[in-house]
């Protein structure tokens, strides 16, 4: 069964598929502009600092933990 | 296995950099190891710490490669890049001294010989240079706009 979890909980080096973004409208738009759409695959490179390093749509971003908590993902494919 | 070579390279480079870095720090505190003259080791805490950091990057890479992590090679590459950066820094320092001697003709530099500016960070860099040449295919980055 796929597990739905916040992006911050994803282990480093894994991929997840965005399920929902539980953020306010403004923040949500920012994230959508960056490519955090539903069903987009996000790769988490680093999550052991104050911010996450993620790959989405071929771009790499540093993303604050608070914001990453609002992005719900499933570990995809399985 | 290519990774085996890289592991041994990283191990050797790591040990050398940490060792020379420590010697530079120790030298600054006035502890004479007797090697300073021979190996051209200056007393330099921060420069020494930087060498230790480079060594640590190499050793981390060796550790990762040893435990079968392929990403360990990244540490070897970054270690090489960093030591090349530091080599460039020391080359620039020699360049600055040459300018003092020939262009400014600064009196303080009358006695200056090139050996005075040779540092472990410079000659250890040749090891990394060899590594860079051996694996140069992997060091590919686009040029900035």
């Amino acid at each position: 069964m796929p597990q739905v979890l916040p992006l911050t909980m994803m282990p480093e080096g894994t991929e997840g598929k965005v399920v929902s973004i539980n953020a306010g409208r403004c923040l949500k738009r920012r994230l959508v502009e960056m490519g955090f759409l539903e069903n987009t695959v996000v790769t988490v490179h680093r999550s052991d600092r104050g911010a996450l390093m993620v790959n989405v749509n071929g771009s790499k971003y540093a993303l604050g933990k608070g914001m990453a908590m609002k992005i719900m993902v499933t570990d995809c494919y399985n | 296995m290519a990774n085996k070579n890289k592991m041994f390279f990283a191990l050797a480079a790591g040990i050398l950099y940490v060792l020379f870095g420590c010697m530079q720090i120790v030298e600054q505190f006035g502890i004479k190891t007797g090697l300073a003259e021979l190996l051209l080791i200056p007393g330099d805490i921060f420069g020494g710490l930087c060498l230790v950091v480079i060594g640590a990057v190499f050793l981390y890479g060796a550790k990762e490669l040893n435990s079968g992590m392929n990403m360990g090679v990244s540490y070897v590459y970054v270690g090489i890049l960093m030591s090349l950066v530091f080599m460039a820094v020391y080359v620039l320092i020699i360049g600055a001294s040459l300018l003092e001697v020939y262009l400014i003709q600064n009196e303080d530099y009358l006695e200056w010989r090139i050996i005075d500016d040779i540092r472990p960070g410079l000659y250890l860099g040749f090891l990394s240079l060899a590594g860079y040449v051996a694996w140069r295919g992997r060091f590919s980055l686009p040029a900035a706009k």
């Binding site: 960056m34 494919y77 | 990244s74 600055a96």
Partner: protein, 675 residues
């Protein structure tokens, strides 16, 4: 002539250009409806090609064909149940690995596949080389290169589709799941073959695999099968979760054995950039690596600049000589020589330092490392009450606060930006260094280096505490969320970095040419005009730089203000003029102590009794903390757009400086240190 009719389905991941390709194939001949029973859009189009009428069905975009979403079920059911003649999978050439996952699943479904390798031009321009001939060989599926948005490769694709549709027997190419799972698959196939209803509709192997995969949709179907108990018995012998995971792994394994042979560079996408990131963001090594790089930058800045500083010094020395020789009018000679040449020269001598520092920072910025530095420092910055992006402006402050404050423009949140601007002046800029060098050198001898380092640290600590204080009182709230793009690493070009260096560094030259020029003229005028009641000529030798000048009078007026700090009137005046530019503190002390620009002589005079080590330390701390120079104040006004905050910055810094110097002097005197 009889017209053939075939049906093809377009499958693919979302965002691979499926709709574009669909439009390119069918043109206007399409209609939109819904899939039976669900609200997923169904698009069907037609196209006649070489006497064959092709019906094209656009399947919903999916990443896989498990049964987790309606989209996936719709796509799968269509392929399995309606049995289109050919399934065309549109594959995004820039992301082969992810796309091929779907391919493995379509292959298992037993459908006749043609791959449209879309967007291969993008992949190629990125440097990926995809060998389609090899790809066809390994996958045993025809591969056609297409560029949907340009309509390229459509005819080739349709040719291949017709050829494939015309083929009789179909060879199934499948993923091998390893002995253990394969034996279960065979076991299940043997049972399933007895269920006529199911085996007529679905490929047996696929059913077996889906059962092992834990596919709910299929498990539902099995419940009504006469073979249900037998199947359950087999399934109970395995650890389902383990099995699911290892099957997915096997699929990836299959892809990853094919990928390296088919494609150069696009394997698993671990670019060199990713490798560097992996190391420089390491939990333990990230910050040490960053500090090492900073040390390298500063080392180059300070050592390589020395010869150039020597050259500039020689030039201004020569210029002063020319002035002294050729200008015989005393006041004009003094204005040009002691005032302008000496003053501007004292500032311009730091130009190599400033330029090199900006060159180093530009190199780090252009290669992409600065963005990582912000990422690495974000946690620390957040604790301080600042934003990850605040870090770069703070770092630039070590060069000059003016461009540093301008660099805060990259911080989006206004409050974060304001705090970064307000604490930036505490970061000790290059202009304050000559003051430290002179005083620390004269009073602390061998420990001068440590004292100067300590001053830099003090500046950083004050900046941190101030940020916390301001965040806790005036500008409440948490730092804005941190989002920042991390561009791929690039090799910086000399030209690009030189341009960036010039953009920032030229501000310093401009400052030397305008504000500082005006400042030194003002300083000279004050020291040349006799104070009221003194009977001497303007700019005469008795007046210049003595207590009888207007400057002396000014100094005596403000002396009581700084007396508790252990400063006399000369230092008071020097500090006032330091507002023009902090470098001037040393220059005007030289003038006031009557030694001109001979710094060694100034040091000697100060040590000989004009100051104590304690008051010297106080002066250095005061210089570090008090009101930033006029150019910085100007840029604070410009960037905050508010006089209120500008005045706050000036008042807060000066107040803090006074308190710090007061404590140093008074406590030091009380405990009898350094007298």
């Amino acid at each position: 002539m009889t017209q053939n009719k075939i049906t093809i389905a377009l499958a693919g991941n979302p965002n691979v250009g499926k709709s574009t390709l669909f439009n390119a194939i069918t043109g206007a001949h399409q209609h939109v409806g819904n899939w039976a029973g669900v609200t997923v859009e169904k698009k069907i189009g037609t196209r006649t090609y070489h006497d064959t009428e092709i019906e094209v069905v656009d399947l919903p975009g999916t990443y896989s064909l498990t049964a987790y979403s309606v989209d996936e079920i719709v796509a799968r059911d269509y392929v399995v149940e309606d049995k289109p003649d050919v399934v065309v999978q549109i594959v995004d050439a820039t992301n082969l690995e992810r796309n091929l996952y779907l391919t493995t699943q379509l292959m298992e479904l037993g459908s006749r596949l043609v791959i449209a390798l879309n967007m291969w031009d993008v992949a190629e321009s990125r440097g990926d080389k995809i060998d389609t001939t090899k790809m066809e060989e390994f996958l045993e599926i025809p591969v056609v290169k297409t560029i949907g948005n340009k309509g390229e490769g459509i005819d080739g694709l349709l040719d291949e589709v017709l050829r494939e549709a015309g083929k009789g027997a179909h060879h199934e190419h499948e993923v091998s799941y390893g002995n253990e799972i394969e034996s279960k698959i065979i076991e299940l196939e043997r049972i399933l073959v007895n269920d006529d209803a199911l085996s007529a509709r679905y490929p047996l192997r696929w059913l077996a695999i889906k059962l092992l995969d834990g596919d709910e949709n299929i498990l539902e179907k099995i419940k009504v099968s006469p073979m249900a108990t037998q199947i359950d018995n087999v399934l109970n012998t395995i650890d389902r979760e383990d099995c699911e995971a290892s099957m997915a792994d096997k699929r990836y394994e299959a892809i990853n054995t094919v990928l390296p042979q088919v494609c150069e560079r696009c394997v698993k996408e671990v670019t060199f950039s990713d490798m560097i990131d992996h190391v420089v963001t390491n939990k333990y090594l990230g910050i040490p690596i960053f500090l090492s790089m900073m040390w390298a930058a500063f080392e180059v800045t300070f050592t390589f600049a020395t010869p150039f500083m020597g050259m500039i010094d020689m030039f201004f020395g020569w210029l002063a000589g020319v002035v002294a020789e050729n200008i015989t009018t005393i006041w004009l000679g003094s204005l040009l020589g002691d005032g302008i040449v000496a003053g501007v020269g004292a500032v311009m001598i730091f130009l190599p330092n400033i330029m090199l520092l900006f060159l180093m920072l530009s190199l780090l910025e252009d290669c992409g490392y600065m963005a990582r530095a912000a990422f690495i420092m974000d946690k620390l910055m957040y604790k301080i009450g600042l934003h990850g992006r605040s870090f770069i402006p703070l770092l630039m402050g070590f060069g000059c606060n003016v461009p540093a404050i301008m660099a805060t423009r990259t911080i989006e949140d206004e409050r974060d930006r304001l705090i970064t601007i307000l604490v930036n002046p505490f970061i000790s800029c290059g202009a304050r260094l000559p003051v430290y060098i002179l005083l620390a050198g004269a009073f602390f001898g061998r420990d001068a280096g440590s004292v100067i380092f300590g001053l830099y640290m003090l500046g950083i600590i004050v900046a941190i505490l101030s940020a916390k204080l301001i965040r806790g009182t005036l500008i409440k709230g948490k730092p804005a969320p941190f989002i920042m793009e991390l561009p791929p690493y690039r090799i910086p070009t000399v030209k690009g970095s030189a341009i960036h260096m010039w953009e920032k560094g030229s501000l310093y030259v401009k400052k030397a040419g305008t504000i500082i020029l005006a400042g030194v003229i003002l300083v000279w005028l004050f020291s040349a005009i006799p104070s009221p009641g003194v009977d001497a000529a303007f700019a005469s030798e008795e007046i210049l730089g003595t207590g009888d000048s207007l400057m002396g009078a000014l100094g005596h007026v403000i002396e009581p203000l700084v007396a508790p700090l252990g400063f006399d009137w000369r230092i008071a005046v020097a500090l006032v003029f330091g507002f023009v530019a902090k470098e001037i503190v040393i220059g005007s002390m030289g003038v006031l102590y009557g030694v001109g620009k001979d710094e060694d002589a100034l040091g000697d005079i100060l040590v000989a009794g004009a100051m104590t080590p304690l008051s010297a330390l106080g002066l250095m701390v005061f210089t570090l903390l008090y009101v930033p120079c006029i150019a910085t104040i100007g840029v604070i006004k410009k960037e905050t757009g508010s006089w209120k905050w500008t005045l706050f910055a000036a008042g807060y810094t000066t107040g803090l400086a006074w308190i710090a110097a007061f404590l140093i002097y008074q406590v030091g005197t009380y405990v009898g240190w350094g007298l």
